[in-house]
């Protein structure tokens, strides 16, 4: 599903985000990427979302080389990926339903299909009864679950999450992680960037450890 081959990312100011990173991720896998601030976790996610291009090396996402992808292809690539942000990135001027429906509207699905899929996604994150509420009326944990519903509503093959439990207490964090596991059980590849080692250790999935842009560990979290 994902192949990093000697991928490096250097910025014009001389900062090096990633140093010749190489690893593979199988389809349907669940893995964490961990490391301190500045380790390169977010850079890796930005490369996978084609927000940035690698400076060197080969980055393949299901066979598509993200170093050579054209600007007009990028939106169609992103439609195959779900993204969950630490700060939720919800739109507060519209309802929970409208937030979750956004990717489906972009896909141009008919309204009845949108209704059906949004209901299922909200049910999966246990927020079906909050569909018509504004995101501001929800707790932080519920807002994060709305973000997850939006990320999975179009059934992406790959789900990326950047510090999804960063602002949550341990109970809510565990709850969110269980939602990710449920989604992974359905076959979606899940890649989560997090520095919450305690939480990662409890889940016993593969973990990539980054330090200053280099891969220093690849194995099951203990």
């Amino acid at each position: 599903m994902i192949r990093f081959e000697q991928v490096a990312k250097r910025y014009p100011n001389g900062h090096v985000g990633l140093h010749e990173l190489s690893f593979r991720v199988r389809r349907g896998e669940f893995l964490f990427v961990t490391g301190h601030s500045g380790a390169g976790k977010s850079t890796m996610l930005r490369l996978l979302l084609a927000m940035e291009r690698p400076s060197a090396g080969k980055l393949l996402l299901a066979g598509q080389d993200l170093a050579t992808i054209t600007n007009s292809q990028i939106p169609f690539l992103r439609r195959q990926i779900g993204v969950v942000f630490q700060n939720h990135q919800l739109l507060f001027d519209r309802s929970v339903f409208a937030n979750v429906a956004l990717p489906l509207q972009i896909l141009g699905l008919p309204q009845d299909e949108i209704n059906q899929r949004v209901s299922l996604a909200l049910e999966r994150v246990s927020l079906k009864d909050k569909a018509l509420q504004a995101p501001t009326d929800l707790s932080t944990g519920q807002q994060q679950r709305v973000g997850i519903a939006r990320a999975i509503v179009h059934q992406p093959a790959l789900l990326l999450a950047d510090e999804p439990t960063g602002n949550l207490d341990p109970r809510l964090a565990a709850e969110i992680m269980s939602v990710f596991e449920d989604i992974n059980q359905l076959g979606t590849t899940v890649l989560i960037a997090s520095h919450d080692l305690a939480l990662i250790a409890r889940m016993r999935h593969r973990m990539l450890t980054l330090q200053r842009g280099r891969l220093i560990g690849d194995g099951e979290a203990v």
């Binding site: 599903m1 930005r46 979302l49 084609a50 927000m51 996402l61 299901a62 066979g63 598509q64 992808i69 600007n71 007009s72 292809q73 990028i74 939106p75 169609f76 690539l77 992103r78 439609r79 195959q80 990926i81 993204v83 990135q89 739109l91 956004l102 990717p103 509207q105 972009i106 896909l107 141009g108 699905l109 008919p110 309204q111 059906q116 899929r117 299922l120 939006r150 999975i152 179009h154 059934q155 992406p156 093959a157 790959l158 989604i183 359905l186 076959g187 979606t188």
Partner: protein, 338 residues
């Protein structure tokens, strides 16, 4: 529905189908053309409704933007309409550009009428009028106030004349016509006030150039007004744009509501400009009629012709669209993600 449809319970297996055609092909497996068309129309409808409601939610700001557009549009359009109205005084101009042919005193009425008919058939002549010696004397007596003195004269000193109204007011054509007419038999003198024609033509040309220059400046100002207004809307919706792009929205999808906004600003601004012009011309008309009456004319300003009104609306909508397009294109490049 095709059996290839992805059910809501199964994650997609489509990563890698990232070219536009491949993705569209995948989508077309699951949706017929009619559904795609319906979705596309629905998307446009939603963008239009969303843009309208955003403008309505900021009534004062929207009103002033449209008012600025209306003023900027109505100024050159109003001047152009005034010039058009003045050009409708063409009949009067042609009279002012009339060529007076004075015949020799021994040319009788029969010859004068024959010559008038011949001149009237000329391709550059709109009208020719014969004024006999008696008619000329009567008019002169009435207008000069020298009636009694003229009656004392033993003979009528005034010649018969032909007033020639040219087809077009053009200096070169008029000079050629004048040369032709003054060489006709029994024509003693031919008169044409060319200086007046030249001044009028220069004034009209200056007016047209002024309106053109003003229009260019105001169009540039309009594009800036619309562009700046749309830029503020883009800034207010920065997060939304970023999220839309991250979940797969194309630049076209992001651009669409802002283009509708530009079109709406243009449409409302155009309607307001039309109303301003109609009201302004009507208000000015009283003074114009009064002034024209002092010169013995029944001239009055006409309103905004319906075709000019629709041209104004179309122009305003186009300007709104172009202004919005330029603003969105510029700011989309600046917004991350790509």
């Amino acid at each position: 529905m095709s059996s290839a449809r992805v059910t809501p319970d199964q994650p997609g297996e489509r990563v890698g189908a990232t070219t536009k055609n491949q993705v569209q092909a995948t989508l077309s497996d699951t949706r017929g053309f009619r559904n795609q068309l319906r979705a596309w129309l629905e998307n446009h409808r939603a963008s239009c409704v969303d843009s309208t409601s955003r403008l309505v939610r900021q009534p004062l700001g929207s009103f002033f933007t449209c008012l600025v557009m209306a003023v900027a549009l109505s100024l050159p359009m109003g001047l152009a309409l005034l010039l058009e109205n003045v050009s409708q005084l063409g009949g009067s101009w042609q009279r002012a550009a009339q060529i007076s042919l004075f015949l020799e005193l021994d040319a009788g009425d029969t010859y004068g009428e024959l010559l008038r008919d011949k001149i009237a058939e000329h391709e550059h002549v709109a009208e020719a009028q014969w004024i006999s010696r008696e008619q000329a004397l009567t008019e002169f007596q009435e207008q000069s106030g020298l009636g009694e003195a003229l009656r004392e004269l033993p003979d009528n000193p005034l010649p018969g004349s032909i007033l020639v109204t040219p087809e077009v007011i053009d200096k070169d054509a008029l000079v050629a016509l004048l040369d032709e007419l003054k060489n006709m038999p029994k024509v003693q003198q031919a008169q044409l006030d060319l200086m007046w024609i030249e001044r009028l033509a220069a004034i009209l040309q200056m007016g047209e150039q002024f309106i053109f220059g003003l229009s260019v400046l105001l169009i540039a100002a309009l594009l800036l007004v619309v562009g700046n207004t749309i830029r503020l809307h883009i800034e207010n919706r920065r997060t939304e744009i970023e999220v839309i792009k991250l979940v797969g929205g194309t630049d076209g999808y992001v651009r669409r509501p802002f283009l509708y906004m530009g079109v709406l600003y243009g449409l409302v601004g155009g309607v307001m400009a039309w109303l301003l012009l109609a009201y302004g011309l009507n208000w000015l008309n009283d003074s114009v009629v009064q002034l024209a009456q002092l010169y013995g004319s029944e001239f009055s300003l006409s309103g905004v012709p319906i075709e000019d009104g629709f041209s104004l609306l179309l122009g305003a909508v186009l300007l709104g669209y172009i202004g919005a397009w330029l603003a969105v294109a510029r700011h989309l490049r600046e917004l991350s993600p790509r």
